[in-house]
Symmetry: C2
Subunit: 329 residues, 2 copies
Amino acid sequence: MVEKKTIKLDDVAKLAGVSKTTVSRVLNNRGYLSEKTIKKVHEAMDELNYRPNAIARQLFKQKTNLVALVFPTVDNPFFAELEAELEKRFDRLGYRVLMGNSQNNPKKERDYLKLLLNHQVDGLIVGSHNQGISEYKKTTRPIVSIERFVGKQIPVVSSDNYQGGLLAVQRLLNDGCKHIIHTNYPINLVSPNELRQQAYEDLMNKHNRKPITYSVSFDVSDEEKERVFRKMFQEHPEVDGIFADNDTNASLIIRIGKEFNRHVPDDLKVVGYDGANITRMLSPELTTVQQPIPEMATKAVELLLQLINGKTDVKSVTLPVKLINSTTA
Amino acid sequence: MVEKKTIKLDDVAKLAGVSKTTVSRVLNNRGYLSEKTIKKVHEAMDELNYRPNAIARQLFKQKTNLVALVFPTVDNPFFAELEAELEKRFDRLGYRVLMGNSQNNPKKERDYLKLLLNHQVDGLIVGSHNQGISEYKKTTRPIVSIERFVGKQIPVVSSDNYQGGLLAVQRLLNDGCKHIIHTNYPINLVSPNELRQQAYEDLMNKHNRKPITYSVSFDVSDEEKERVFRKMFQEHPEVDGIFADNDTNASLIIRIGKEFNRHVPDDLKVVGYDGANITRMLSPELTTVQQPIPEMATKAVELLLQLINGKTDVKSVTLPVKLINSTTA
DNA sequence: TTTTATATGTCAATCGGTTGACAGAAATTT
DNA sequence: AAATTTCTGTCAACCGATTGACATATAAAA
């Protein structure tokens, strides 16, 4: 087998009869160059089918144009849409995007942080919900978080969780629900969505109702989730309204409800959360609080770029949410 | 502001009172080293909070441990699950994964191919459906495709599309459907799922029925898709069975069907395709042909690694599909 | 005691581009 | 004709880690 040698800048220079620097100038459009030389160099590059080695360039420039997205998984409509929107925007700006699906595994989250610290990526967007990753406190390198508190120095992009909670619960109240239950992640996870629970409790208390919350961790199996929701219907047969923490769970709750002979929207009203495209497509009948995913992506990219470009006083932002009415109820 | 200097290997060497090579030996566990030296070096690294520069290492090693996934979008249950499964497997093997959502845009697909040729990634997994990307023919670098024919040299991982087509149509026939319509991508896209159409037509012909296919391009707006499906119901009011090209379209068709007062499964039977987790979660009532996504990911990773490791006769594989019965019908 | 194996460490070239410093030639000004 | 500006191009250091070649010291074997 013929050993295929990598063509390097030097080979191009030799063939074109110029120096390495001249070739580099042609590549980077730098300094003064004669038309003749440019042509010669381009011909040599074509003839040799030359491809500059990006790694060498990155080493010198101290920049990779890579960012990493650290989220629990891409296999979830909210994160999938968010990551897709982020990728689209970064791509336009000349950044490539590393997928870091942490599965809510602190080790993997740390690994990606190491990537950042090893100069392999220029910045990080974190949306996974691990706690106690102390490394975040040690670094001043560019990190933006989405819907999660990470540390004092790290700007957060989130949607208005308190308002979202109000919208959802108010809707259930308006629809005449008497016994409203809330499902949420375990609140020990440092996430702004505990504000939803706050809103739920505030509104319930205001109406002299007793708030009841069922917690389901994000990363347990579907079977475990089903178990919890069955328990919910068993322990609270009076329930007639549910404010679910996300649309997938809302959908699951509706299915479990059917087992208990509850039918939406007659016997049971459910409001979900997130309102991602895919969910709207596959479950259009679901009422939900929609997070402004494209806008959140835009903001997160904007903030990360500010950090990458050396800005120091980068501020967190909160974006408004919207109640999406179901198509059937 | 204090300029924060990057700590490099040389700084560690100086603090530990040894040479650069010695530090490198400690880092890479190479050659003979005294316990004492190892300890000294580690202490120096800790004290300086040293992080090796991965780019420099990559330059020397001529390996980035990066692979790119080029798919139309991650915002689709099938691709999302596939990419998540791929990422999980690559991560275990020490590879980081670049997201390349091509939106079926040939330019973006070419850009990612360039990344490969620029030595920025060690391999590529392509699943987007662009045509005429001639660059693929020029390269011998590691590429594996999923559910798509790219070129003679490039191994393909696909599921058994012909069998999937048979299962879907046979199911509709068994359920007593008399007028079955198939929806598909425009077949000019070089994809093995034209085999589904083949199966549909073969089976229809065998039963002396006239095959009717409606084509919807993958990347048009939801509104356009709705338009096409409405047209389908208008032009063929007799339709009582539909074999859809994917679950999202199946869900959309069911919704449009309701507009025409067709109710599943009484007046209309629909079989979707893909059977991704998210879809099963959000639309459990949908009958579908399930592709073995985890197995496809496993195979694709396996083949790509063979290529990366220099194997030359890497063979394409086809994996079996499964009909998933709806929960309600 | 001499030879050989094992342990410890240093030097300098290398991976493949990039760019500041500098030099000579041609064009323009004074 | 001399001085200045504009082109065109070369040289060598540099980005940061890796490793083959080599030197010396110590321990084990002959």
